[in-house]
């Protein structure tokens, strides 16, 4: 029996890697993807391209602008002096924000009145817009506070500051709030999922399409051996991918792995059981490789989006949240992030691990039952 399985494994490997380009696509590309994505997925908002529309041109207005620039968040791209140009810059997307200070700004301030400043933000990307407005209000808030303290001093003649609540932030697990630390572990999961799902789903259908399936049906191979022959190679490939991408994450991006590596690989194994099972299932319901590819995508796409990879599950409507309970990728992501960033172990992650285990076994059992029907 082991001999037959070994034969199937070898045959599968040969078939998959007959074209040397496959090697590149399966092993090298995930690493490249991790690199690119690791750099690209930053929701950090920095270097906000800004235009300054200062009609007052006073010491006060310039000082406020200096504060904005000094924060490091804003890059002044241009100084404008008319509406049309400001509008044009926003229309063309050359700036994300325009800070406008009208005539009389300094006057209002010195008269102890309220001086308005207008911030026009490109709301196309509401996320960025919100963050930019947050920066502005933080900076102007600090400025306001100082001016108030100054006024209080002038009025009372005493050096008496008003109480100030200063929020001191401590970010846990991702001290520098690097979005990369959040995304890279997720990318590992995504990249591995896609590759193994697609390979497995196409593998059996390929034989159906080319016509070698009949030969297999008349050979003495048992359904179990067949399934093993079709899953083990891809499980191996999956593991190699996980290791490769993890190495990139840890050594290139310096994402910490605070938890147990063995646990990580164990959980990966359980997760791979589910992806391979699903891939095989897709394989059995498709007649052509075209159908297999589309079905894989039809499944994977929502699975990726509803996994918490980029969009927090907590924000989703209740009904959709219930759906995510059936998504193995969601559990795997919790585990992977837990191990990487939080350094927690099986004591905290046991619910997710058990669910993955149960899912994996259930899916593979279902699939092998289908195979038993077709092969016997």
């Amino acid at each position: 029996m082991f001999e037959r399985i070994r034969q199937m494994l070898v045959k599968e490997f040969i078939q998959v890697f007959r074209d040397p380009r496959m090697r590149t696509v399966i092993f090298v590309i995930p690493c490249v993807q991790t690199l690119v994505i690791g750099y690209a997925v930053t929701l950090d908002v920095n270097h906000v391209r800004t235009a300054i529309y200062d009609l007052d041109q006073s010491v006060d207005s310039r000082e406020l602008v200096a504060r904005l620039v000094g924060s490091g968040y804003f890059d002044v791209v241009e100084h404008v002096d008319n509406d049309r140009r400001a509008r044009e810059l926003l229309d063309r997307g050359r700036v994300t924000a325009v800070v406008r200070l009208d005539h009389g700004f300094a006057e209002e301030l010195r008269a102890d009145r309220t001086a308005p400043l207008q911030v026009i933000v490109d709301g196309t990307d509401s996320n960025t817009a919100g963050i930019v407005l947050g920066y502005v209000s933080r900076i102007t808030g600090a400025a306001s506070q100082e001016i108030l303290a100054e006024r209080l001093r002038r009025q009372t003649g005493v050096r008496r500051d008003p109480g100030l609540v200063e929020l001191r932030t401590r970010a846990w697990f991702n001290e520098n709030l690097q979005s990369r630390w959040f995304f890279v572990p997720g990318v590992i999961a995504i990249v591995v999922s896609l590759a193994t799902l697609l390979l497995t789903s196409m593998a059996v259908v390929r034989e159906k399409e080319i016509g070698t399936m009949e030969q297999i049906l008349v050979s003495p191979i048992t359904p179990t051996e067949f399934i093993l022959g079709k899953t083990v190679p891809f499980a191996l490939i999956g593991f190699i991918d996980v290791i490769a991408v993890t190495l990139v994450g840890v050594f290139w991006f310096e994402v910490p792995i605070r938890g147990n590596l063995l646990l990580l690989f164990g959980a990966t194994g359980l997760y791979l059981m589910t992806t391979l099972g699903i891939g095989l299932y897709i394989s059995t319901i498709s007649q052509t490789q075209q159908q297999a590819m589309m079905s894989t995508f039809f499944f994977f796409f929502p699975a990726m989006l509803l996994s918490g990879f980029a969009f927090p599950i907590e924000n989703m409507p209740q009904v959709i949240q219930w759906l995510t309970y059936a998504n193995p990728l969601a559990y795997f992501l919790v585990i992977i992030r837990g191990i990487f960033l939080k350094g927690v172990g099986a004591d905290v992650l046991w619910p997710q691990i058990s669910v993955l285990g149960v899912m994996g076994v259930a899916i593979l059992t279902l699939v092998s039952r289908r195979f038993h029907k077709t092969l016997s």
């Binding site: 929701l43 490109d122 995504i190």
Partner: protein, 376 residues
């Protein structure tokens, strides 16, 4: 180029599509699924962030501060804790995303006009959420401080004082900051890129695998005729998808379309010509469906998703990655769609991107034709 042969190929390809209703069905269902998910289920808007409070002061002043947090739409009070351990547990178990720690001498220090450090502990794993939550927290703290200062001034000076700086934010293009209005238009580009790849990436490889291509290359049919003939039916299906997406955007999600809808379809057609040709190119170069599917996924799915600016603004990415996005065709189309939908601008502003789109289409068609050889 003989029209008769192109027609024969187009007709055959059309028959293939019809005879595979499952793939055709999925080609329509996948875009709709993507739209529904993004429209209804997925949002990066951050509100109701679960918060735990460790109020060591328990004074009217501290309770006032806490009620500011609780009363804000951005936070929701998940409970109070009595010590560091409980705080840590709450965050580990993801019962709370942030923790507010008010020191015991809060009221006294405020009264004495001194600075009070209030600790804000944040789960940094999801850095995006964390950053935004911190922004909100700081805003609340700053507002509280300002009111304290104004109160102090009032007691001393008796004047009705207003805050010195009044930030007036104006959000252009997406005034209600609905992330949906930003995501849905960009999504159309991503959908098109993915569908194009799914539809065409296997078509030529399939014929090589089955042996029908060998027959075809022994006939007088020319490479360009084959490619054009194959593109036509898939172009029709893809344009249908664009129509569905635009209609759903209008009638289901009420995304405002301020610009010219004809421009959406016109540019969409150009983009599709390029995307479909790229899928065809993959098919031609790969020669096996297995390799073609992997290549298609890798070159279209993830880049379109993460590098096109549809979700993550390109402006925030490091320069190297921004350079790479120039090679991602979806990014041009996304920029164009954002402009047309949200800014209501036309070609006069977006000419640059439009030209790049035309260039992309042309290059893809040319390369696909170059790479196709009528030889084994």
């Amino acid at each position: 180029m003989k029209l008769r042969r192109v027609r024969a190929v187009a007709r055959k390809e059309f028959l293939h599509i019809i005879r595979d209703p499952r793939s055709l069905g999925m080609a329509i269902a996948i875009p709709m699924l993507m739209l529904v998910l993004f429209g209804f289920a997925l949002t990066v808007d951050v509100d109701n962030v679960p918060l735990v409070v460790w109020d060591q002061s328990l004074s009217p002043a501290s309770r006032e501060l806490v009620s500011r947090f609780d009363g804000s739409p951005y936070f929701s009070l998940a409970g109070s804790v009595r010590n560091e351990r409980e705080l840590a547990e709450a965050i580990d178990r993801r019962e709370a995303l942030v923790g507010l720690v008010v020191p015991a001498d809060f009221a006294q220090r405020i009264e004495a006009g001194r600075t009070v450090p209030v600790e804000f502990v944040v789960d940094g794993s999801d850095s995006n959420k964390a950053t935004i939550a911190i922004g909100y927290g700081e805003a609340i703290a700053a507002m509280y401080s300002q009111e304290v200062a104004i109160e102090a001034l009032r007691r001393v000076g008796g004047n009705r004082l207003r805050p010195p700086l009044d930030v007036r934010p104006r959000v252009w293009f997406n005034a209600d900051m609905e992330s949906r209005n930003y995501i849905i238009p960009g999504l159309i580009a991503v959908i098109m890129m993915v569908i194009a790849a799914l539809l065409t990436s296997l078509t030529v490889a399939r014929e090589w695998e089955r042996g029908t291509m060998e027959q075809l290359i022994s006939t007088p049919v020319q490479g360009p005729e084959l490619i054009l003939g194959k593109l036509i039916p898939y172009f029709a299906v893809a344009m249908l998808d664009v129509l569905l997406a635009v209609l759903m955007g209008e009638f289901v999600f009420h995304v405002p379309l301020r610009g010219n809808v004809a421009l959406v379809f016109g540019l969409g057609a150009i983009f599709l010509a390029g995307a479909l040709s790229m899928g065809m190119l993959i098919s031609i170069v790969a020669k096996s469906q297995l390799l073609a599917s992997q290549l298609a996924m890798v070159t279209t799915f993830l880049p379109a998703f993460l590098l096109s600016g549809f979700m993550i603004p390109v402006a925030n990415m490091p320069p190297v990655i921004r350079a790479i996005t120039y090679v991602v065709p979806a990014s041009y189309f996304v920029a164009l769609l954002h402009g047309i939908y949200l800014k209501g601008v036309g070609l006069e502003i977006l000419a640059g991107e439009a030209i790049l789109l035309v260039l992309y289409g042309t290059v893809m068609v040319l390369v696909a034709n170059l790479k196709f050889k009528k030889k084994l």
